[in-house]
């Protein structure tokens, strides 16, 4: 049984079926790609899986539990986190606090202790945040505000925040958008490292080099439906995919 199983997942906006009966699995420990042209329904799929948009039909099972009706924060606490295309950083918090806010889930009554002893924090969360900062080469910037950083760094922070709580599955919505070739390659290496550490990833991106390099398995969607699901080598030669999506650019790029 896969870690994440979407079955017949359908999302409608008015009369438009943005996601139409999508079946998609993420096997534990895999790096799964999700690609498709603009407007194919990739972000809608991430929104539906993470509870940000209601599904009209179908079910989402995560780690053996049906989470179709759970709210976004409950899904996050169950180990399912995401990044946003538009980053959505906590602009009022430093880089470290951005990660800490996502890493610690104190009980509601922790407030009473915080009033007296503010610096007490869960050592596990703090250690984990330090590790991630170190792994992503952000330690030097830990005490800066996001607004002071470049676009590439801000994108890294949004990815780092999604990893902060040691989740089982992270859905990455275009983490490489706006990164230059070197940054994109470095991100690929990093994602592989994370997957090898045991975290499952679903990667949505338009950088085909990145997706085909790092993914173990790729799903292609178009007009809200899955049109192919196979390892990269197969997708690369899938006629339907080439015609529907990759088109001539892919051929030129590869030759």
């Amino acid at each position: 049984m896969a870690l994440l199983e979407a079955r017949g997942l359908t999302v409608t906006y008015g009369g438009v079926r943005a996601n139409d009966a999508i079946d998609l699995d993420c096997a534990a420990g895999a790096l799964v790609g999700l690609i498709g042209p603009n407007g194919a329904g990739k972000t809608t799929f991430i929104d539906a899986i993470t509870g940000f948009t209601p599904t009209s039909e179908g079910s989402v099972t995560f780690d053996g539990r049906d989470i179709t009706r759970a709210g976004p924060s409950a899904r996050a606490r169950a180990g399912l986190t995401r990044t946003f295309q538009s980053l959505e950083l906590f602009e009022d918090l430093t880089v470290r606090d951005n990660l800490l806010a996502a890493a610690e889930w104190p009980a509601w009554h922790a407030l009473f202790i915080d009033v007296v002893a503010p610096r007490r924090r869960a050592a596990r969360a703090a250690d984990r945040v330090d590790q991630i900062l170190d792994m992503m080469d952000l330690t030097d910037l830990a005490d800066r505000l996001p607004a002071e950083l470049s676009h590439g760094r801000r994108r890294l922070i949004s990815v780092a925040r999604a990893f902060a709580a040691d989740p089982q599955l992270v859905l990455l919505d275009e983490p490489a958008a706006g990164l230059d070739t070197d940054e994109s390659r470095a991100l690929g290496v990093l994602l592989r490292k994370v997957v090898d550490g045991g975290t499952t990833l679903l990667l949505v991106d338009h950088d085909m080099g990145l997706v085909f390099d790092v993914c173990d398995h790729i799903n292609v969607i178009d007009f809200g439906s899955v049109i192919a699901s196979a390892p990269p080598a197969v997708i690369r030669n899938d006629r339907a995919v080439i015609e529907a999506y990759l088109g001539t650019r892919h051929k030129e790029g590869d030759q």
Partner: protein
């Protein structure tokens, strides 16, 4: 049943006023994006101008100038109407140019603060220029002779006329909105200002036009209603404004007919409450009228509100930046020691000013948690404070609960009220939340504070409060023949210091991080596993608890509690002053406390310049406006920004 019809029809005048005000709020919002909390106050001034002209005088609103220009006699209906309308138009234009236009890009809260300043200015002007308010009777304008609708139902005709006028105005506005290019452009500008620019219209001009139009409309309604409803500085300012906000909300500040229908319905249903109170013993004698708009507003929110803002709405409610808390000897010991020495050595008047400032600090701290950390708004802080004050009296006098326990329990009760008023925050945010809490605060004021069952008999000084006493040691302000005992000041200082430390501890803790994360970005916060609903209720709980303690300090200081200390204007002023001091940090709360009316800064000013006496409230209001326009992010924020600009030019890494 005909009795009910009678009361419903009798309420048509009130309904028409509410509907008309709702339209005015709608127009202003469509043209400028501003919810003008001073709309009722502006219209009231024009109403007074008309009334004054009918007795042969034109009032000047500027202190120092002659109070009025005297005509020989009543100038007559049309000249008075014309002059009053021109005054309203000029006021609308002035308010737009001087206050709201400079604040176009400022945080929405700065707009609210400026409009609160404007309300305070206008109310104090009215109180100064029309001190003999009771003598101001306005002769009939609309036909009055009773009309018999059916057997047993005979009502004065003027209320129905007013309703008809408002419906006609609504129809005209609807035609403009639907079928003219101007209406189209205004609707387009409300959706997207840049779009209007591309169509070749200046948003500033549109905003100015809608401010003038709305101001004239409000003035017209107040003048037409003034023969039916005795003018006063508060009736149109709040009593009709709040239901009008509710009506405009049902129309989502853009649909004319839902606004008008809701407005008329509120007025008519409120009127029938008089009958219900007579017929049914269980019907609440107090607060039902003001509870109704609150319930309607909440209902509108639940039906129309969104749980999480969508992609485009994230940044519309900007708030000032939050500095890191700096807790060290310089920031903690020095201010506390200075205050302690001043309390012990200075005379009773200075001591009184310091005590006022300490109360101001506590109340501002409650808003630092709520707004500064949590990103929520409350225009009901003094209502929470008042709940604690009255509860304290009950606990201490009737049930003999001893000192430290009674105020804490009383503040817990305030906290419960705070959470209830804060519940709508789970679905609404920003200016809409400000409206909900304003209505909630007024409902509490009417339902609890005016009810003799809870507050005792006002003629005997209201609810009594015994002195705080710890281990047999009396901490009260007065004891026997001793007045203004410094020990009470020290007691307040200790409470304020503990709360200040607690608030800065919250800022530095994991709870504070989650509050700031929620304030920064609710979508991202819930994606990060933060239970946004819980955090919001938490900040409302903490904030209203602190406000409750502030209310207890007020109660201890005066030895009794009465409704007048905890009114709506007090709630508005507390938010405005806290915002200007700097709503995101403890040092801002201290600044706010020092700036509070009758606090240290004010007392120092009166000492330095001689008495400002009767104009104190007006000067306070003008200062609020000036400071809001000059420092839209608060004084502390402004200073920080200037320091940051000097030290480095924001290096991007």
């Amino acid at each position: 049943m005909t009795d009910y019809l009678f009361f419903l029809l009798l309420g048509s005048a009130a309904g028409a006023i509410i509907a008309g005000f709702g339209l005015g709020l709608l127009i202003t919002h469509q043209g400028s994006g501003v919810v003008n909390f001073a709309f009722g106050a502006m219209a009231t001034w024009a109403g007074y101008v008309y009334a004054d002209l009918r007795r042969g005088a034109y009032p000047f609103p500027i202190p120092g100038l002659p109070e009025r220009y005297h005509f020989a006699q009543d100038v007559g209906f049309w000249p008075a109407m014309l002059l009053a309308m021109l005054t309203a138009a000029a006021l609308g234009l002035l308010v737009h140019l001087v206050i709201f236009r400079p604040l176009t890009q400022a945080p929405a809260l700065a707009n609210i603060v400026a409009s609160i300043g404007l309300v305070i200015v206008i109310i104090s002007l009215i109180d100064q220029r029309f001190a003999d308010n009771a003598g101001l009777r306005v002769g009939p304008i609309l036909p009055r002779e009773p009309v018999t609708i059916m057997a047993d139902v005979t009502v004065p005709r003027d209320g129905l006329w007013l309703a008809a006028l408002v419906i006609a105005i609504a129809a005209a506005l609807w035609v403009i909105q639907r079928f003219t290019r101007l209406g189209l452009v205004i609707r387009a500008a409300a959706e997207n200002e840049k779009g209007a620019v591309l169509l070749g219209y200046s948003p500033a001009l549109l905003a100015a036009a809608t401010f003038v139009g709305a101001s004239v409309l409000g003035a017209f309604i107040v003048i037409m209603a003034s023969p039916m409803i005795q003018l006063s500085s508060t009736v149109f300012t709040f009593a009709f404004l709040i239901p009008a906000l509710g009506a405009a909300m049902v129309g989502r500040f853009r649909s004319i007919w839902p606004t008008v229908v809701t407005g008329l319905a509120i007025g008519m249903v409120q009127s029938s409450f008089t009958k219900l109170q007579g017929d049914f013993s269980w019907f609440p004698q107090y607060g039902a009228r003001d509870g109704l708009p609150f319930i309607i507003i909440i209902g509108a929110m639940i039906l129309l509100g969104e749980r999480l803002p969508d992609r485009s709405a994230v940044s519309t409610w900007k708030l000032p930046a939050v500095p890191a808390a700096k807790v060290n000897a310089l920031t903690v010991v020095v201010p506390i020691a200075t205050a302690a020495v001043a309390l012990l050595l200075l005379g009773p008047l200075w001591r009184g000013a310091i005590m006022t400032s300490l109360i101001g600090i506590v109340l501002s701290l409650s808003l630092v948690v709520l707004t500064g950390f949590g990103g929520q708004t409350s225009l009901a802080q003094m209502a929470f404070a008042g709940v604690a004050g009255f509860t304290l009296s009950k606990l201490a006098i009737e049930w003999n609960v001893p000192f430290p326990i009674a105020p804490i329990l009383a503040s817990v009760v305030a906290m419960v009220f705070g959470v209830i008023v804060g519940l709508p925050a789970l679905r609404v945010r920003g200016t809409n939340l400000a409206i909900v809490t304003l209505a909630g605060g007024v409902a509490i004021t009417e339902f609890v504070f005016k009810n003799p069952k809870y507050v005792g008999d006002a003629s005997t000084g209201g609810a009594q409060i015994p002195n705080p006493e710890l281990f047999g040691w009396d901490l009260g302000l007065t004891l026997g023949d001793q007045a203004s005992r410094p020990i009470f000041g020290i007691f307040m200082l200790v409470i304020a210091s503990i709360l200040a430390l607690a608030v800065s501890n919250i800022r530095r803790s994991s709870s504070g991080r989650r509050m700031l994360a929620t304030r920064s970005n609710e979508r991202a916060a819930s994606a990060a596993g933060i239970d946004v609903a819980r955090v919001k209720l938490q900040v409302f709980a903490v904030s209203s608890f602190i406000a409750g303690l502030g209310g207890c300090l007020i109660a201890y200081r005066f030895g009794s509690v009465s409704e007048s200390s905890f009114g709506t204007i007090a709630s508005l002023t507390v938010l405005a002053v806290a915002y200007l001091g700097g709503i995101t940090c403890v040092s801002g709360a201290v600044t706010a406390g020092l700036l509070a009316t009758s606090g240290v800064a004010f007392y120092g000013l009166t000492q330095a310049t001689g008495s400002v006496g009767q104009w104190e409230a007006l000067i306070g209001g003008v200062l609020l406006i000036v400071m809001a326009v000059a420092n839209p992010e608060g004084i502390a924020g402004g200073i920080r920004a200037r320091l940051a600009a000097r030290s480095s030019a924001g290096v991007i890494v």
